[in-house]
Assembly symmetry: C2
Amino acid sequence: MQKQVEYEKAIKTKYPEQVVIAIAKDRNGKANPVTLGWTMIASGQPPMMAIAVAKTHYSVETITHSRCFTIAFPSAEMADAALFFGSRSGRDIDKFAEFKCQTAPAVQIDSVLLAEAVANFECTLEQHMHAGDHIIFVGKVVASHVNTEARKRLYTIGPGHKLGPV
Amino acid sequence: MQKQVEYEKAIKTKYPEQVVIAIAKDRNGKANPVTLGWTMIASGQPPMMAIAVAKTHYSVETITHSRCFTIAFPSAEMADAALFFGSRSGRDIDKFAEFKCQTAPAVQIDSVLLAEAVANFECTLEQHMHAGDHIIFVGKVVASHVNTEARKRLYTIGPGHKLGPV
């Protein structure tokens, strides 16, 4: 049976929620990673992925500037990196300089991959749409990569940025 | 270490993937549920949710017509309903008539809730965007409901529509 409640309470039923790390270069060529839980596949043919990025986030500038981005599926071992990339701003720091995380060059776009991730998807920005306090960016996947070793994907498993495998 | 592979192979690392059932009424007043894995939260303030619906699906017509929809988080016990609602078309049948699934009226929109779901979100259609072979619909959440009993959310846990809790 259903009971009407505040949205803030009802949305706590969403866990586990998948985590991705989106990466785009700023106008100085600095690759900026951001951790996001609001993401989905948006098309099968051609393959496209969507992310919702808070309008105030530096990633809005980096993605709008470079018109491409990587979507990495972090592995369960990458919880500390995901927390760091999600809690600091690329306006203030060089996240990859401050938190060591092995990267590799992308092959089809001007961005980087996360070497230890479960998978990486190189996306070219196709379109965007405003949605409340976020912007939805839709990218077409132009190259895909997987880890050569088996890895479990990282999820947010509860409130307060509690991260782990499921 | 990363290895470049076909998208179809790389995207198999996405599991578990959350499942929602979106419900909108058609022009005859028939409530039509569809099971979707491509969904995300899109805004925090105001709360908004996005779904990607295949352009060929009847749900494109129902959502476009009624300009509102329910997003239900099915419970792990609702796997059979989720499979049925995701594999049949509302063009051909009345899904709620053929697969018994307890509903309740929505309170703010002209749609229904799933009584046994983990949670239900009533959404008014705010905007949409084409993305490849899908349309992204963004709805503003105007009412939220949770199950009065503890329920685990349903996920797609592997290829071939393998459903279960995580």
